[in-house]
Symmetry: C2
Subunit: 109 residues, 2 copies
DNA sequence: ATAACCCATCGGATAATTCCGATGTATTTC
DNA sequence: GAAATACATCGGAATTATCCGATGGGTTAT
């Protein structure tokens, strides 16, 4: 993952509404949720939420799929993996002693 | 990790200068770098960089240590682990099939 | 003491983000 | 075809972020 892509993802997640939306969609994998359901969950106006969603989609964290006049939204686990790999990369390369505690806790599952 | 703490970390990393600073410090673990060295690496004015550094410190990603009239900066691997755990948590809990690809690639080291 | 050095904070200008209601574009239903 | 539904996009107002030079506080060297 390039630095610009990582920055897009970090920026997308660095907002309460967008982070909550992302987490909600993770919990609803793999079915996803419609944009309308996400609007309702956000408590914001439809137009405001639409711009937030666009940020998530542009960053590649959320992938929309047309279904009639609705739009089903799903998260991209690939994008999340890319970000985590990017963040861990610098300590993984050549300094496994730093990376070890990272992985130890992630092995929870 | 609480949502607010995760948001602070994400916001801190969602800026080119701050992300580059964080990565540079990871590469210089465990010795760290002085604030002056970081200022030079950033290419920004001293005052501007100081505010960026303060964001990283407030988020807990960077820990300063006084050394004479200098200030040595080091990253907190704990904070990074906390963020990664937070991001992975929602898919780890009860849906190991989502989490598996995350861990598979992180096992690079 | 005085000067030099390192870094944080202040004041202020510019740019970006965030929010909303209103309007536009498809799609479905009647 | 007309009305209704789902969502995106357009203006515009308010807030926040970003940047800088200048100043201040504390530490070391002369």
């Amino acid at each position: 993952m390039e630095t610009d892509a990582a920055l897009s993802i970090l920026t997308a997640l660095a907002h309460p509404t967008r982070l909550a939306t992302f987490r909600l969609l993770v919990q609803h994998e793999p079915d996803g949720l419609s944009t309308g359901q996400l609007v309702e969950a956000s408590g914001l106006s439809q137009s405001t939420f639409s711009t937030h969603l666009a940020v998530l989609v542009k960053a590649g964290l959320v992938v929309p799929e047309k279904r009639g006049r609705q739009q089903i939204q799903r998260v991209s686990i690939d994008a999340l993996r890319g970000l985590m790999l990017f963040l861990a990369k610098d300590c993984c390369e050549g300094r496994a002693e730093l990376c070890e505690p990272l992985l130890a806790e992630l092995a929870c599952c």
